[in-house]
Amino acid sequence: MKPLMLHGHERAITQIKYNREGDLLFSSSKDNKPNVWYSLNGERLGTFNGHQGAVWCIDVDWTTTRLISGGGDNTCRIWDCETGKEIGSIQTKSSVRTCLFSYSGNMALYSTDRAMKNNCEIFIIDVRTVDSSIGEADPILTIPIPSSDTRVSSILWDSLEETIITGHEDGALFQWDIKTGKSIKSVKEHSLLINDMQWNKDGTMFITASKDNTAKLFDALDLTLLKTYKTERPVNSAAISPIFDHVVLGGGQDAMDVTTTSTRVGKFDSRFFHMVFEEEFGRVKGHFGPINSVAFHPDGKSYSSGGEDGYVRVHSFDPPYFEYNFDY
């Protein structure tokens, strides 16, 4: 396959996301401009200019009309996808680490870092009508994370908009009821920071990617651990194929450790595992640094990865991938 290399960022990619149909690919990076691309030919549609610091997270709503982004400049911003104009901006006390639209797009949430004597908090806001006054509006719900030694590092919103699942810095998973703002359940299967969580297609399971060198598959309802995918490097991102029982893991050693440890070719590969048998069956090379974010196209025929090297690579699978049968 001939990947498309999207070179719109000057610094490391932090997150990439497809919209629902998969025709657009959004990318955020540590430079301050999220980008949007046509996934088919890699043409850049535009950049969202306004942030003044690293952009840690992005999300696009169901209808691809609005984009939410949060960054290290202590703001969470909502953008118009068509024009790239900023609709509203919310000032926070510390940097915004995660942000998400709910399935319907009526609500959005974002979480802030534990920093500058502020505890980590999760905010849920009403985004049915967004204008420049959103910064003054009160959030629907605020969930403070009480323990001072953990923060939310990734977040998911279930498709019925009744609960949210948070992954924490210490590897714990919490499920919260958003009516009461109370925690329903928590498990601790990872030993280190959970970098990323992504749903499978029908929202019954999700995969977590952790710094403890594993990715794990959980049941969404009761947070039961189903499968574990082991590697020998921190996993920064994991995604589940919408059409096959495949998962793709992206990772590599921590960016700060790259220069101090020996690099062997093959550590920055995207690694494909069989979802059920937990066995690796394929690798795709390409990035010159750790992969920070991976995403499957909603049709399952291509996937993209964004790396510490600042490139987004869009891969369209070759026919052998679709004919590949896992031996068991």
């Binding site: 290399m5 070179h7 850049r44 549609l45 535009g46 950049t47 209808t63 024009t83 394929g282 795709v284």
Partner: protein, 284 residues
């Protein structure tokens, strides 16, 4: 849902340089033919005039209405000045990469077994052949080794058995086992032949260009079968190819095939001469 067709530009680009006569630059052209949009531009690059040809494949795809609408969105932000189609500054077509499939352990074992089986079956047929009596054992184990048969028959048989493959060359250039010394002394003319038994599947390839490399030859002969040894004659001082080389195939059949195919084959504007490698003359 209403379906709308949208034109899609997919780019593949290369630039080729053309020296033009005359001062002025020709005007850029845009031609659409066979589903390709070909853009030709001329520009100066220092002193040189450069012709840039861009080929865009025009694909028609059918999308749902919502996607089609999004295709018509105007570019914004840093891309607001970009022309329609991918901007080569931000969108690069990377080199081919392939998914490396990691086969499961069982499959690996199976493959090894296969190789072993192959070797075994080969062994049963003709991997080992006695040079003395033609039997299926090593020459040293031959029951006829010390008998008259050995002394008398060796020279004749050697020609017949010469196709034997797989037998390690036990008789080096200098050392000759005692059991064969007598024969060697008697029939000196046969000696080179015997010493160079592996030459049987060797080809001499000649009429090579001066700048030919081992790699080129290897690429040339690899498709025919496994190669045991490859030698390219080079000038001792300049290192330039002397115009010929030798290829030792593992199997004679492969060698024959290669000779048939490559003899008269055009390589680097020269027509190759391929023949069986002849036994060396007495000069060394």
């Amino acid at each position: 849902m209403k379906m709308t067709a949208v034109e899609e530009l997919k780019s593949s680009r290369w630039a080729d340089e053309v020296e033009l006569e005359g001062g002025a630059l020709p005007l850029p052209t845009e031609v659409i033919e066979n589903g390709y949009k070909i853009l030709t531009e001329y520009k100066f690059e220092g002193e040189k005039k450069v012709k840039v040809v861009r080929m865009h494949k025009i694909e028609k795809r059918i999308f749902s209405k919502s996607i089609a609408v999004r295709k018509t969105w105007k570019k914004f932000g840093e891309s607001s000045n970009d022309k329609p189609g991918p901007n080569p500054a931000t969108t690069i077509i990377a080199e081919d990469v392939y998914m490396q499939y990691i086969t499961s352990k069982e499959e690996d074992n199976k493959q090894e077994d296969d190789g072993l089986d192959k070797l075994k079956s080969l062994g049963e047929k003709a991997a080992v052949k006695c040079r003395t009596c033609n039997g299926e054992h090593w020459t040293t184990h031959c029951p006829w080794k010390d008998t008259a048969l050995a002394g008398g028959k060796v020279p004749d048989d050697k020609k017949g058995i010469s196709g034997t493959n797989g037998e390690p060359s036990k008789t080096g250039n200098k050392y000759i086992p005692p059991s064969l010394r007598e024969g060697a002394v008697r029939t000196r003319s046969d000696n080179p032949n015997m010493n160079r038994r592996d030459d049987i599947s060797a080809l001499r390839i000649a009429n090579l260009g001066e700048d030919t490399t081992e790699q080129e030859i290897e690429d040339l002969v690899k498709p025919f079968g496994p190669v045991q040894k490859l030698f390219l004659a080079r000038d001792k001082i300049t290192g330039a190819c002397k115009g010929f080389g030798y290829i030792h195939f593992k199997f004679k059949g492969d060698a024959a095939k290669a000779m048939q195919q490559l003899h008269g084959y055009g390589h680097n504007h020269l027509i190759l001469i391929v023949d069986w490698s002849k036994p060396q003359q007495h000069n060394n």
